[in-house]
Structures are given as structure tokens and as C-alpha cells.
């Protein structure tokens, strides 16, 4: 009997195929403004920002264990940063969008110092209080339009319409693809290892030298910055910002449903969830309230019976991963029957 050599492998055929398809899609997607119609572009912009929002919430809740139901705080902050910079500061709105992330981060830092005093479920409601505080502050601040909101049309009207739509679209594409890439790279880094360790057991990771408090703060800030950028982008395409729309509870509701249904704690989950959300919305948007009831019901059922969502079930059933985060131990000896699932051990 020969001694089998073990090889630690990360990438899988599915992952390589996924990467190639993803790159091809991004390149094809980038050329879209040249040939596609306006409706397609509007839908895709929405698709990308929901994907990015879902990815940010998944990073926070699925990996960081910080279940927030107040991420609309940062959507709204991003939107109002855009207003202040583009309408009052004269900054080019397309440059103001990434800068909005910094504003969100600056507000998130002191907020985290207070909210982190609340444990688990109470952090969730506390994060909601923060969003309400911001909504009420902007509702009462008449210089920014108060409760009725403010238009940002004049800040973009100087830009040619085709360029405006194309730039918005490219920005959305960058934000959507960028959020997936950023989360993937973060999880493969040293911080990512620490983060998954914290997710699995805070006590155990603390004992091997991971600073749980710091890693949670970093995830919270990263998610806030990302969400702030997305918020600015969303309202750049909507052209009007009001406290009710920017700090709306519905942002959190939709993002959370998307991630739960798609698969919480996986990179692929938010993508699957967003696709499913757009399919459902296409068929059910006319039914108003019933549509939210149905979405809520699917999320509740998923949480009760399919805790890892659609992608979690799929990945487990077929052993597929598009974004390789696990290390697999495979027997490399060519006499040994390699490639069979029984020889493969997975480690998160």
C-alpha cells in the first residue's frame, strides 16, 4: 500500500467555472449602456444595489453575528451625504457617492460604541432606534427639506442624459460586483478567518487570541461604509431624498428577506436571494400588501425549516461552492480513488 499524499485544495471546478462566468458577465454587463434599452438598465441598477445591500447585511449578520434591523440608518445617511455634497457643496454627484461611505463610517463609529453595550437581540432593536433618531433629525432639519425632502435634480442636470444613465449604471455594476468581491476577499484574508472563528464560537476564538470586540467593530464599520455608498447611489438614481423614503424600514425588511431566503452566511446566498426577489416582484408587484405578506411568509418558513436558505440547501446537497472559502483535504495519490466525496473533508 502506498502512502497517500494529502493536498489542501481550495479551488474547485465549480468555483473556477463560476469565476470565469462571473468575469465574462461583468465584461458583457459593462457594455450594456451601448446596446440595451432604458428599462433593462433601470432594472439592473436596482438589482445591483439590492445585491450590494444584501451582501453588506449578510457580512454583518451572517458572518459578524451582529443582527441589525436598522441598516436603513446608513442608507439614509448616504442619501443625505449626497444631498449635502452635491447640492450644497457643488461636488460632482458621482464623486460624492463613494465619499458618502466615509460619512456613514464616521457616524457609525460612535454609534457602535453605544449600541455594542446591548447584547444580541437587544442590539437588533437598538440599531433600529439609531435609524429612527436619524430619520427624526433629518425630518426636523428644515435646511435639508425637512419632512417633505429635497430634490437633487439640479446637481445632475448639467450632465448629459446618456452619460448620466450610463455612469449611474456603471457605478451600480461596480458596487454590486465590488460588494461580492470585497466580502469574498475579506473572508479569505486573516481577518476573515478570525471573523468565521468568532461566528462559530466567541469564547473559543477569544482564547486563541482573536479580539472579538475589535473584529465586530470592524465588520460593523465596513458594513456601514458599504451601505452608505449604496444609499447615496440609490438616491442618485431616484433624484429625490426624503426622510421617510431614505430611512424607511422597508430597506431592512427587503434586505433581510433576500438574505434569509437566499442563504444567510454564504456569499452566494444574497445573489440567489436577489434574483428570486426580482422574479417574485415581477409577478406579484401588482398585489401590493399581499406581496410583502408572501415575502415575509417565505422568509419565516425558510428560517424555521431551511435555516441556511436556498443556497445553503443546494450547496450541501450537491457540495458546490462558487466562491471557495473552505479548505478541502484531498488524497492526491493517483491510485487512490480521488474526487469521491468520501475522501474529501470540508473545513469552514
Amino acid at each position: 500500500m502506498t502512502t497517500a499524499a494529502f493536498v489542501v485544495e481550495r479551488s474547485t471546478p465549480a468555483a473556477r467555472a463560476g469565476l470565469n462566468t462571473g468575469l465574462a458577465l461583468i465584461i458583457a454587463g459593462a457594455s450594456l449602456p451601448l446596446w440595451a434599452g432604458n428599462d433593462t438598465m433601470i432594472t439592473l441598477v436596482e438589482f445591483f444595489y439590492f445585491l450590494a445591500l444584501a451582501q453588506m447585511w449578510n457580512l454583518l449578520a451572517g458572518y459578524g453575528g451582529l443582527i441589525s434591523i436598522g441598516q436603513q440608518a446608513f442608507v439614509g445617511l448616504g442619501a443625505y451625504s449626497l444631498v449635502v455634497m452635491a447640492v450644497f457643496g457643488g461636488v460632482n454627484p458621482f464623486i460624492a457617492v463613494p465619499l458618502a461611505g466615509i460619512v456613514a463610517g464616521v457616524v457609525a463609529w460612535p454609534s457602535a460604541r453605544i449600541l455594542f453595550r446591548l447584547q444580541g437581540p437587544y442590539f437588533a432593536i437598538g440599531s433600529w432606534v439609531l435609524a429612527e433618531i436619524l430619520r427624526l433629525v433629518f425630518s426636523n432639519y428644515s435646511a435639508l427639506g425637512g419632512g417633505s425632502g429635497i430634490s437633487i435634480t439640479e446637481s445632475v442636470s448639467a450632465i448629459d442624459e446618456w452619460w448620466r444613465d450610463a455612469l449611474s449604471y456603471w457605478l451600480a455594476l461596480a458596487v454590486g460586483a465590488g460588494s461580492m468581491t470585497a466580502v469574498y476577499l475579506l473572508l479569505r484574508s486573516k481577518q476573515g478567518l478570525a471573523l468565521t472563528a468568532v461566528r462559530d464560537s466567541e469564547t473559543a476564538s477569544e482564547s486563541i487570541g482573536v479580539s472579538v470586540g475589535r473584529i465586530k467593530l470592524q465588520v460593523y464599520l465596513a458594513s456601514a461604509i458599504g451601505t452608505g455608498i449604496i444609499g447615496a447611489l440609490i438616491f442618485l438614481t431616484k433624484l429625490r431624498v426624503s426622510p421617510e423614503a431614505a430611512f424607511s424600514m422597508e430597506w431592512s425588511a427587503l434586505i433581510i428577506f433576500i438574505v434569509i431566503i437566499g442563504g444567510v452566511g454564504t456569499i452566494e446566498g444574497p445573489l440567489v436571494g436577489t434574483i428570486l426577489y426580482f422574479v417574485l416582484r415581477n409577478f406579484l408587484a401588482d398585489y401590493g400588501s399581499w406581496y410583502m405578506i408572501l415575502l415575509g411568509a417565505i422568509a419565516v418558513i425558510a428560517m424555521l425549516f431551511m435555516r441556511k436558505g436556498i443556497w445553503g440547501w443546494f450547496a450541501q446537497r450537491f457540495d458546490v461552492q462558487l466562491f471557495p472559502l473552505q479548505r478541502r483535504l484531498t488524497i492526491a495519490d493517483d491510485k487512490a480513488p480521488s474526487g469521491q466525496p468520501s475522501d474529501t473533508q470540508k473545513h469552514d
Partner: protein, 289 residues
């Protein structure tokens, strides 16, 4: 001077209403470590249930309590047995997100049934009457009744927990849900009973809310936040702390309203954040976990 006194008094009375909101939330957390995100929406559901009864058979809103309380208690019992019990465990995500989903479903369900219009439970003179204290100072009769109800409810629960068999079972299950099974107590059923009691208080809170101010299907989340803030300000797990927490919140809101009508709720939230900053354990922390 009279203004300051008036503001503080209005705030303290408002605290009674918030304590009423908070009791169910506090109970569910105290016994099951369960946080119900749909708590505020169940309060609003209580108000709408009362409204539907009155529309069907005109009667005084307080009479509807005879039906609303048992109905919500039964609903709470089965929600716990059939849904919430499945979510309990080490992972905090399932209970939070299941009740979050329920919250969105309830809001939209109520919208579909009752439209988005503002409603009110008409209780005639009872809600407009006030007592003149002299010197330009007057207090509303109904807010006073609300405060008395809140105090009576808390006293009643205190009695239930410390003196009765069911109270002992609830406390024992809260301490260790596995060991009590050895004493022939089914912790799943005890949880059901705890949620039934909590839901009855939610029904009470709903009817009182409907008589106090106008309500609509989307009013649930703010009520959850007020209840939550009262619980945290008062200190987790302390029943009487909840009343104190509600009063602190009420006074902060009343002071805010005095400055500008748009600032009332904001001042309440800011007071909550400030207390979290200086006294994270709340005003009356319970030493026993």
C-alpha cells in the same frame, strides 16, 4: 414653573402607558430570553381587534377587553407552542428574524383589512375628562386610569410570580428549562403559558392605546421601540424598573414636545441613548441573571 410641573406630570402619566406596552416584552424576555420584534404590531392588532368588535356590535371599548384579552392569550399560547418554541436555542437569529417576518406580515395584513386610515376607539367623555388641580394645572382622567392599570398589572404579576404555583413553575423554567422537566413540568407548555400571559397584557396595551390616541396599521414598530426603551432604561428583568423606565421615557418625550412638537419622540430616543451610555445596565438592574 407651572409649565415645568405640568410637563413632568404629563410625562409621568405617559410612562404608565409605556410600562403597559413594555410588560409583555419584559415577561417574554425574563422567562424565555425571547425578544418578539412583532411585539408592537401585536399591540396594534389588539387595538384593531377591539375596533372590529365595536363595529360589529357597538359597545364601550373597555368591554371589548373581555374578548380581546382571552383571544390574544390563546393566540399567544399557540404561537409559542407552534412557532416560537421551534426557534429557541443558542442561535439568536431564528427568533429575531421569524418575529421580524411576522411583524411585516401583520402590518401588511392589517393594511389589507383595515386600510391605512387613522382610527380611534371612541370612549366618549372618559378620554376627554380632566381633573383640575388648581393653579392652572390639570391632569387627564384617562392617563391617570392608565397609570393605575399599569401599576395594578405589575402588582398582579408580582403576586402571580411570588405566590402562586404557576408563578413558581414560570420562575423555575426561567432558571433551568431542562431540570424542571424532571419535576414533571413540561417547559414547552410553561413557555406557552408565559406567552399567553404576555399576550394578554399586549391586548390590554392595545385597547388602551386605541383609546388614548389615533392608530393605524403601521404604528406597531414605534410602540416596540417605546416598550424596548422602557425595558432597557428600567433594567432588564425588573418589573418595577419597567415602570420607572417608562416614566423616564415619558418625561423625556414630554420635555421634547414642550420645545417643539417634532422633537418629542426624538428626545425620548436620545434619552435612551444617553442612559445606555452612562448606565448600560439600566436604572434598576436585577443582580440575578
Amino acid at each position: 414653573m407651572i409649565n415645568i410641573l405640568d410637563t413632568i406630570m404629563q410625562g409621568l402619566l405617559l410612562g404608565g402607558l409605556y410600562a403597559l406596552f413594555a410588560t409583555g416584552l419584559s415577561l417574554a424576555f425574563g422567562i424565555m430570553r425571547f425578544v418578539n420584534i412583532a411585539h408592537g404590531d401585536f399591540i396594534v392588532l389588539g387595538a384593531f381587534a377591539s375596533l372590529a368588535l365595536i363595529q360589529w356590535l357597538p359597545m364601550h371599548p373597555l368591554l371589548t377587553l373581555l374578548i380581546v384579552l382571552p383571544a390574544l392569550a390563546v393566540m399567544g399560547y399557540w404561537a409559542q407552542r407552534l412557532v416560537y418554541n421551534r426557534t429557541l436555542g443558542r442561535d439568536i437569529m431564528p427568533p429575531l428574524l421569524v418575529t421580524f417576518g411576522l411583524s411585516v406580515m401583520l402590518q401588511n395584513g392589517l393594511l389589507e383589512m383595515f386600510s391605512g386610515d387613522s382610527r380611534r376607539l371612541d370612549a366618549g367623555d372618559l378620554t376627554t375628562a380632566s381633573i383640575d388641580l388648581g393653579g392652572g394645572l390639570a391632569i387627564g382622567v384617562f392617563p391617570l386610569i392608565t397609570l393605575v392599570i399599569a401599576i395594578a398589572l405589575l402588582a398582579g404579576l408580582q403576586y402571580l410570580f411570588s405566590r402562586t404555583a404557576i408563578g413558581r413553575a414560570l420562575r423555575a423554567t426561567s432558571d433551568d428549562p431542562e431540570i424542571v422537566q424532571l419535576m414533571a413540568v413540561d417547559s414547552r407548555k410553561v413557555y406557552g403559558v408565559a406567552m399567553a400571559i404576555a399576550s394578554a397584557t399586549v391586548g390590554l396595551a392595545g385597547v388602551i392605546l386605541g383609546m388614548t390616541k389615533a392608530f393605524d396599521p403601521l404604528l406597531g414598530p414605534p410602540q416596540l421601540l417605546f416598550a424596548f426603551e422602557a425595558v432597557i432604561i428600567g433594567g432588564l428583568g425588573s418589573l418595577w424598573g419597567t415602570l420607572a423606565g417608562g416614566m423616564v421615557l415619558g418625561v423625556a418625550q414630554a420635555v421634547g414636545f414642550r420645545f417643539d412638537p417634532g422633537w418629542g419622540i426624538l428626545f425620548g430616543h436620545l434619552a435612551f441613548m444617553a442612559i445606555l451610555l452612562v448606565k448600560p445596565q439600566g436604572l434598576f438592574p436585577k443582580t440575578r441573571d
